[in-house]
C-alpha cells in the first residue's frame, strides 16, 4: 500500500493541529487532529478490505504465441482480466515483459477495469532480438481508491516463458549419401610409422634400427632380432576455407547454406581450440578473399576466428574484398579481363579475314574461347586456395566449406589444395535442398540430389579427399523418404 499526496496532506494537517493544541494549550485543536486521524484510518481500512476482495476475485490470463521463436521474430501476447463483481477501486493491469523484448508501449496495452466493466482484453506483439529463455512476469495490478488517498500494486496472475533461439539450423545433417557420419574429428591415422605411443607392428630388424626399438620378447621367441614399430604422432594444422558468396544465401532464414556450413566451421574451430591445434581461416566472397588469418594456436586467435565465422554474411557482387592482397589480385584480374576480351574479339575478327599464313597460324589462339584453366583462375575460390594454401607445408588438413553451384571450380580447387595438404575435407551444401520450393516436385528434387551425389563422389574419389554433404536433416530425409518407394537410393559413397 502506498499513500498518495492527499493522505500526506491530511497527516501534515493533523500534525499541525496537534502542535497547535500543545503550543496554545487548546484541547479543541487536539479533537481536530483526532478527527483527521480517525477519517484517515477508516479510509485506509476500507481501502485494504476492497483491495483484498478485488484481488481475490480478479482472474488474469496471459498467453504467448508462439512460445518458441528465433531471434528477431515476433510473438503475440494476449492478456485478459476478469472481475465478476464491481469494485469501488480503479483497477489497471499492466503486462510485464522482460527488458530484452522490444515493441511494447505500456500506455497502449494497459488494461483498465472501471465501474461495470467486468472483462478487459489486450493483445500486442513483442519482438525478441536476443536469444535465451525469458519470462514474462505476472502482470502488475494497480488498485487506486476513489478518494485519492491510497494505491496498491500487486503482481498476480500467471507468468509465461518464451524461448528465443538464435537463427541457426536446428537439425543439421552431415554425412554421405543421406547417411549421417558420426564424427569427422578426433585422432587421425597418419598411416606412417615413427615416434609415438600406439604400437603398430613388430617386424624383423633392419640395419639402421636403434637398440631401443628391439622387441626382446619377440626376438627370444622367434630366434631372430625383431623391433617394435609405433604409429607416428604428428602435429596437425587445420586450414578452414569458407565460401560465403551470394549463392550461399540460398535457404530459409536461419537455415541458409552459409548457416549450415557455419556450424561445421565453428565445430572445427572449437575442436582446434580444444586440441590447441594451429588453425587458419580464409573466407571467400564474390570478389575474392575477405578474410585471411594465418596459422596460429593462441586463444585470441581462436576467438577471432569464431567471431569472424559468426559475423559471416553472404557477400554481394558489388562488395569489395576487405583483404588488401585479395583486392589487388581482384583489381589486376578485372583489368586483365576487361582489356583482354574486346582486344581478343577484335583480333579474331580481323584474323578471320586474313588469308595469310600469319593470320591462319594466329587465329586458333584468339578465336577459341578462353582456355579452361584461365576460366578457373578467374574464380575467387580457386584463386584463394592457389594463393594462400599453395605454400602450405607440414601436416595440414584443409577443410573446404562450399556448395555445389561452382562445381568445376570446386573440383579444381580441391585438386590444387590436395597437393599441399595431408588431407582435404570438403563439405558441400546441395542447392536443391535449400531452394524455396525446391522439394515441390519430389522427382525433380531427387534427380538433382542424385546429380549432386555424383559430384560429391567424384570429389571423394580423389586420393586424400573426403567429401560430405551438409543440409537440414528434415529436408534430406524428406527427399529420401519420398523417393524410397519409387527409386533406388544412390549407392553409398566413400
Amino acid at each position: 500500500m502506498e499513500v498518495k499526496q492527499r493522505y500526506k496532506s491530511g497527516v501534515i494537517l493533523g500534525c499541525l493541529l496537534a502542535c497547535g493544541a500543545w503550543l496554545f494549550n487548546q484541547p479543541l485543536l487536539l479533537i481536530g487532529a483526532t478527527g483527521i486521524a480517525a477519517s484517515l484510518l477508516v479510509h485506509q481500512y476500507r481501502f485494504m478490505r476492497d483491495v483484498l476482495t478485488a484481488t481475490d476475485k480478479l482472474t488474469l490470463t496471459q498467453s504467448i504465441t508462439p512460445s518458441h521463436v528465433t531471434t528477431d521474430k515476433e510473438t503475440s501476447v494476449a492478456l485478459r482480466a476478469t472481475l465478476p463483481e464491481t469494485t469501488p477501486l480503479a483497477v489497471t493491469v499492466e503486462p510485464q515483459p522482460p527488458v530484452t523484448a522490444t515493441g511494447l508501449d505500456p500506455d497502449e496495452h494497459r488494461l483498465t477495469l472501471v465501474d461495470e466493466k467486468e472483462t478487459a482484453t489486450t493483445t500486442f506483439s513483442l519482438r525478441w532480438p536476443i536469444a535465451g529463455k525469458f519470462e514474462c512476469s505476472s502482470p502488475m495490478v494497480t488498485l487506486t481508491d476513489r478518494a485519492g488517498l491510497f494505491r496498491s500494486q500487486v503482481s498476480m496472475g500467471p507468468s509465461t516463458t518464451v524461448t528465443v533461439v538464435p537463427r541457426q539450423p536446428r537439425t543439421l545433417h552431415v554425412g554421405v549419401s543421406g547417411t549421417s557420419t558420426p564424427t569427422m574429428f578426433g585422432e587421425r591415422r597418419t598411416g606412417e610409422c615413427g615416434v609415438g605411443l600406439d604400437p603398430a607392428e613388430t617386424r624383423q630388424y633392419l640395419p639402421g634400427d636403434t637398440l631401443r626399438q628391439v622387441d626382446w620378447k619377440a626376438t627370444a621367441r622367434t630366434g631372430s632380432p625383431h623391433v617394435h614399430e609405433f604409429h607416428a604422432e604428428i602435429d596437425l594444422s587445420t586450414a578452414l576455407v569458407v565460401d560465403h558468396r551470394l549463392s550461399m544465401a540460398t535457404g530459409t532464414t536461419g537455415e541458409t547454406k552459409l548457416d549450415c556450413l557455419r556450424q561445421v566451421a565453428l565445430t572445427y574451430a572449437d575442436h582446434a581450440q580444444m586440441k590447441t591445434e594451429p588453425l587458419s581461416l580464409y573466407t571467400v566472397g564474390d570478389n575474392g578473399v575477405t578474410t585471411a588469418l594465418g596459422m596460429e594456436s593462441n586463444t585470441r586467435h581462436y576467438t577471432h576466428v569464431e567471431t569472424i565465422l559468426h559475423d559471416l554474411d553472404p557477400t554481394d557482387n558489388r562488395e569489395q574484398p576487405t583483404d588488401q592482397t585479395g583486392a589487388n589480385q581482384l583489381r589486376t584480374r578485372h583489368e586483365n579481363h576487361t582489356r583482354r576480351l574486346p582486344d581478343t574479339r577484335s583480333m579474331a575478327a580481323a584474323l578471320r579475314t586474313d588469308a595469310s599464313s600469319f593470320g591462319r597460324t594466329l587465329l586458333p589462339y584468339v578465336a577459341e574461347p578462353r582456355g579452361y584453366v584461365q576460366q578457373i583462375q578467374d574464380d575467387p575460390l580457386f584463386e584463394t586456395v592457389r594463393t594462400y594454401l599453395g605454400g602450405n607445408s607440414g601436416s595440414v588438413i584443409t577443410v573446404l566449406l562450399t556448395d555445389d553451384t561452382h562445381r568445376t571450380e570446386v573440383r579444381e580447387a580441391v585438386r590444387t589444395v590436395r597437393r599441399h595438404s595431408e588431407h582435404v575435407l570438403v563439405f558441400l551444401t546441395p542447392t536443391i535442398l535449400f531452394e524455396r520450393g525446391g522439394l515441390e516436385t519430389i522427382e525433380t528434387a531427387y534427380d538433382s540430389y542424385v546429380e549432386f551425389e555424383e559430384f560429391r563422389r567424384n570429389l571423394a574419389y580423389i586420393d586424400g579427399v573426403s567429401a560430405f554433404e551438409v543440409a537440414p536433416a528434415d529436408r534430406i530425409e524428406a527427399v529420401l523418404a519420398a523417393t524410397q518407394q519409387t527409386s533406388t537410393a544412390p549407392a553409398g559413397g566413400r
Binding site: M1, R6, S9, G10, L13, G14, L16, L17, A18, G20, A21, W22, F24, N25, Q26, P27, L28, L29, L30, I31, G32, A33, T34, G35, I36, A37, A38, S39, L40, L41, V42, H43, Q44, Y45, R46, M48, D50, V51, L52, T55, P88, R146, A147, G148, S152, V154
Partner: protein
C-alpha cells in the same frame, strides 16, 4: 482546489458552523464563519475541517460548552460529508463519526484527567501510527508480498 463532490451533509455542517460562531461571537464570528463557508466551497475537506478547528479554538473562550459541542458536530459533518459520494457511504460516515467521537472524547478525557496535553498528544500519535502501520502490514501479508510470509 476542492476535489470532493459537495454533499448536503457537509454543506449543512459548514452553514451550522458559520451561523453558530456568528451568533455566539458577533462580528468576529461573522468574519470567521464566512471564511469557513468560503473554505468549504473552495478547498479540500480536510483543510476546511482543520481551518474550522482553528476558528473554533480561537473563539472558544466566548462560546458556551453546549455550543462548542454543536460546533464540533458541524465540523464532523464537514469531515464525513464527502464520504457519502464514495462506495459504502453510510458505513464510512457512521464509522468515521463513531471513531472520531470515541477517539476525540477519550483523548479529551485523558487530557482533562491528568492535566497534561502532551500525554494525550502522544496517545493520539501512537494509536494513529500503530493503526496505520498495522493495516499496511496486514494488507502486505494478506497479498503475499511479504518475504517472510509462511503458508
Amino acid at each position: 482546489m476542492r476535489y470532493e463532490q459537495p454533499t448536503r451533509l457537509d454543506g449543512v455542517g459548514a452553514l451550522l458552523v458559520a451561523v453558530l460562531v456568528t451568533v455566539t461571537t458577533g462580528v468576529p464570528g461573522l468574519i470567521a464563519g464566512t471564511a469557513v463557508l468560503i473554505a468549504w466551497y473552495t478547498v479540500p475537506t480536510l483543510y476546511t475541517f482543520a481551518f474550522g478547528h482553528l476558528v473554533v479554538g480561537a473563539l472558544a473562550e466566548n462560546i458556551a460548552t453546549p455550543y462548542l459541542v454543536v460546533l464540533e458536530l458541524g465540523l464532523l459533518a464537514i469531515l464525513v460529508g464527502p464520504a457519502l459520494t464514495l462506495a459504502a457511504s453510510r458505513w464510512r460516515a457512521i464509522v468515521t463519526s463513531v471513531v472520531a467521537i470515541v477517539f476525540g472524547g477519550g483523548v479529551l478525557a485523558l487530557a482533562r484527567g491528568n492535566g497534561h496535553l502532551w500525554s494525550a498528544l502522544g496517545v493520539v500519535g501512537l494509536i494513529f501510527a500503530i493503526g496505520s502501520y498495522g493495516l499496511h502490514r496486514y494488507e502486505h501479508v494478506a497479498l503475499g508480498l511479504s518475504e517472510n510470509t509462511y503458508e
